[in-house]
């Protein structure tokens, strides 16, 4: 399809053209483009390209791992914020629950004294966070959207305060010696160590790819359509027979699970966690990644996560000001480009775009349908 340039004198934006071009490719052609890109992404820590590298300031492999870790979180948060349109400000709470579950099960400091291997802790952590997502969601998801934001903010704080004050969770002393995956080289040395980011980066990238496939399928299913319908207009969705509460809960639990997975990976990598570092600032940073990259767009949120981790590490001068810069960036972005750097374009119908094009001919002139991109001229609330 070559509806690339101008339709009826209307200039088609670059992003749309890219999207159309991508959509017009066959499946194997898409793979032919994707595979080299993915291979390149995998090779990044080994190549350590001169201009791109964050060294000598920060270890490049660790930076990459952190970017991948935040990207995974952003993908999870994107389900909640971008897909279902629920503003979750306590996402760090789920991340913390995942990290703490892993720590409690595996650390020698734990009261359980069980020291399960990391690979068992990961599904356990995902399960516990999914349950905590359901527990938090069940009473709160019936609330109005803006109330939900503040309740989730409270939840994030409660998790932190529990970690701080409950004696078995060890507060500031924390849990040390949390193991990673037990994989050894031929000479018996561990592959997954806290100082070497490369294997962790590869692991996380692999997890991200798997999660992306699963989430992508979910989004193209009835569940995903229900989410978008809820995001666009909850009342209308309810009226059309979408069980909104159940699907919101679903989104919440899915998002929580991915947050827990990420927390588990994080705990394994750093090997030590305590009640520090799970504060609201971190939560807002996660949100910044999603909003910056483009809420509702999976590629966008990965880009957003990369930006918020990589930029401060690469340009050390701004590291001190990064939170300020991200805060200001959010304001500016919301005014001038509320859909983020890469906006979402998901249709209510999975094949809506194609159906639409068949109907009116070609081209793409509906404005963005993202929850954040729906600026209506002249309408004042």
């Amino acid at each position: 399809m070559s509806a690339a340039h101008a339709v009826d004198g209307v200039r088609v934006p670059f992003g749309t053209r890219m999207r159309n071009w991508w959509g017009s490719l066959d499946r194997w052609q898409q793979w032919a483009v994707l595979i080299p890109v993915v291979v390149l992404i995998y090779l990044l820590p080994v190549l350590n390209p001169p201009l791109l590298t964050t060294e000598p300031g920060t270890n490049f492999q660790i930076t990459l791992f952190n970017a991948a870790r935040i990207a995974l979180i952003a993908i999870g948060l994107n389900i909640v914020v971008g897909q279902a349109g629920l503003l979750d400000l306590g996402y760090v709470g789920f991340f913390a629950v995942g990290a703490y579950t892993t720590a409690v099960l595996s650390s020698p400091d734990s009261f359980l004294n069980s020291q399960y291997p990391w690979l068992i802790c990961v599904p356990a952590a995902m399960f516990v966070t999914a349950v905590s997502g359901l527990i938090l969601g069940a009473p709160t998801l019936r609330l109005r959207g803006d109330y939900l934001a503040i309740v989730t903010l409270g939840f994030g704080e409660i998790v932190r305060l529990l970690a701080d004050n409950l004696d078995p969770l060890r507060g500031q002393r924390g849990f040390a010696a949390i193991p990673g995956p037990e994989v050894t080289r031929a000479d018996g040395s561990q592959i997954f160590t806290a100082t070497n980011g490369t294997p962790w980066y590869w692991l996380t990238i692999t997890v991200i790819i798997i999660v992306l496939m699963l989430v992508g399928n979910l989004e193209r299913s009835r569940v995903g359509r229900a989410w978008v319908a809820i995001r666009e207009d909850e009342d209308a969705a309810e009226a059309m027979g979408v069980p909104t509460f159940r699907f919101k809960l679903w989104a919440f639990a899915m998002g929580a699970t991915i947050g827990g997975l990420s927390g588990s990976i994080y705990a394994g990598q750093v090997g030590f966690i305590n009640s520090q570092g799970f504060d609201v600032v971190t939560s807002i940073l996660f949100l910044a990644a999603v909003v910056l990259g483009g809420s509702g767009n999976k590629v966008g949120v990965i880009l957003g996560a990369f930006i918020i981790v990589y930029i401060p590490d690469r340009f050390q001068v701004i590291a001190e000001y990064r939170f300020l810069i991200f805060g200001l960036a959010i304001i500016v972005l919301m005014i001038f480009r509320p859909q983020g750097l890469l906006g979402a374009r998901q249709r209510l119908l999975t094949y809506g775009r194609r159906a639409y094009q068949r109907l009116i001919g070609k081209g793409e002139q509906i404005s963005s349908e993202s929850a954040l991109g729906k600026h209506q001229e002249g309408v004042v609330r």
């Binding site: 349109g85 503003l87 400000l89 527990i135 069940a138 009473p139 709160t140 019936r142 609330l143 109005r144 959207g145 803006d146 109330y147 934001a149 503040i150 309740v151 903010l153 409270g154 939840f155 704080e157 409660i158 305060l161 529990l162 701080d164 004050n165 409950l166 004696d167 078995p168 609201v280 600032v281 807002i284 949100l287 910044a288 909003v291 001190e320 000001y321 939170f323 300020l324 991200f326 805060g327 200001l328 960036a329 959010i330 304001i331 919301m334 005014i335 509320p338 929850a371 954040l372 729906k374 600026h375 209506q376 001229e377 002249g378 309408v379 004042v380 609330r381």
Partner: protein, 334 residues
């Protein structure tokens, strides 16, 4: 759900319930709670007003409050009060200094609230942005203001300047009532009455209520909507500035960049508790929260103090989302 969790925790002996202490300290807790709760109430008005008129949770309001705290602090410093110890001042200069500091704080908070509305929210309104965008902008603004303070003034709180030492004026059932507490409580009530009268009795206040009921119709009836929005932010900011003065008098070492976060959430809880959008509800909610928090602190132990507000918020939103008095800025009689 969370109460259930805590009861389970109690069985394991993780949380000590202290019923005897609660009885012993009942009156002291009540009095402290009323005084501290009136600070919540003053900040809560800002949330309530903006929510009533714009249907927006102004997340950055907590930072407006922090601006007031720093303004008070630097006003104290500029008037020659040094950190450490209590300043030795005669009564009249003391009242004068407090008044000046209060006015400075109110001006600073009020002006920055109006500025925030201009810079962050008005452009969004012009574009007809959806609610989620407003909310995210508010969070971004809150974050940015907090970081400005962190970068310019550092992460530690400013050394405390104390103008007035808390001294017992009289006692209720053995619980002492200090001069600062009386001052805070009375001033809060007076300011609330003034704000309530302003919204319910004056011509400008009628405009506020009209916009709150129906912005479009109000505009057609000749109400200047933009001016009402500005006024709303100004009033909320000024009261937050006043709250900042009493806050800093109560806790002199509280001038710190992230001091607004918890207080902001609690003030919001107070607003929801009383019925968001309802001025009298904000007062009631603030006082109830202040007292409840103190009882809870005595009962469960000090480290759970901040959890209580959150749990209360969730419970209120679950069972009575319209709050104790209902959401009625708009419904108030003309």
């Amino acid at each position: 759900m969370i109460t259930h969790v805590t009861s389970v925790l109690a069985q394991d002996g993780l949380v000590d319930f202290n019923f005897g202490l609660l009885v012993d300290r009942f009156w002291a807790n009540t009095i402290d709670g009323l005084a501290y709760g009136s600070i919540y109430a003053l900040v809560a008005i800002g949330y309530t007003l903006v929510y009533g008129v714009l249907r927006l949770i102004n997340f950055a309001h907590s930072e407006i409050f922090v601006i007031g705290v720093f303004a008070t602090y630097f006003a104290f410093a500029a008037m020659g009060f040094a950190p450490g110890g209590t300043a030795q001042v005669a009564l009249l200069p003391l009242i004068g200094s407090l008044l000046v500091a209060g006015i400075v704080a109110m001006l600073a908070s009020g002006a920055s609230a109006v500025l925030l509305e201009r810079v962050a929210y008005r452009p969004l309104r012009k574009r007809g942005a959806p609610p989620l965008v407003f909310l995210i902008t508010a969070i971004g603004a809150s974050f940015a203001i907090q970081q400005i303070f962190l970068i310019t003034l550092g992460g530690n709180s400013q050394p405390s300047i104390r103008l007035l030492r808390p001294t017992e004026v009289f006692s209720v059932f053995g619980a002492r009532v200090t001069n600062i507490q009386i001052l805070t409580f009375v001033a809060a009530i007076v300011l609330m009455v003034v704000a309530d009268t302003f919204v319910n009795r004056t011509r400008l206040g009628r405009g506020v209520r009209a916009v709150s009921q129906d912005p479009t119709t109000a505009t057609l009836m000749g109400v200047n909507r933009e001016r009402v929005f500005m006024l709303t932010f100004l009033l909320g900011g000024v009261l937050a500035g006043a709250a900042a003065l009493f806050y800093l008098m109560t806790i002199p070492a509280a001038a710190v960049y992230n001091g607004g976060f918890l207080l902001g959430i609690k003030a919001f809880t107070a607003a929801v508790l009383g019925g968001i959008g309802n001025l009298r509800g904000a007062l009631l909610g603030g006082l109830v929260l202040g007292v409840a928090e103190n009882y809870g602190q005595t009962f469960f132990g000090g480290e759970w103090r901040d959890v209580i507000a959150f749990v209360l918020l969730i419970i209120v939103l679950m069972f009575r989302p319209t709050g104790i008095l209902g959401e009625s800025l708009a419904k108030a009689r003309a």
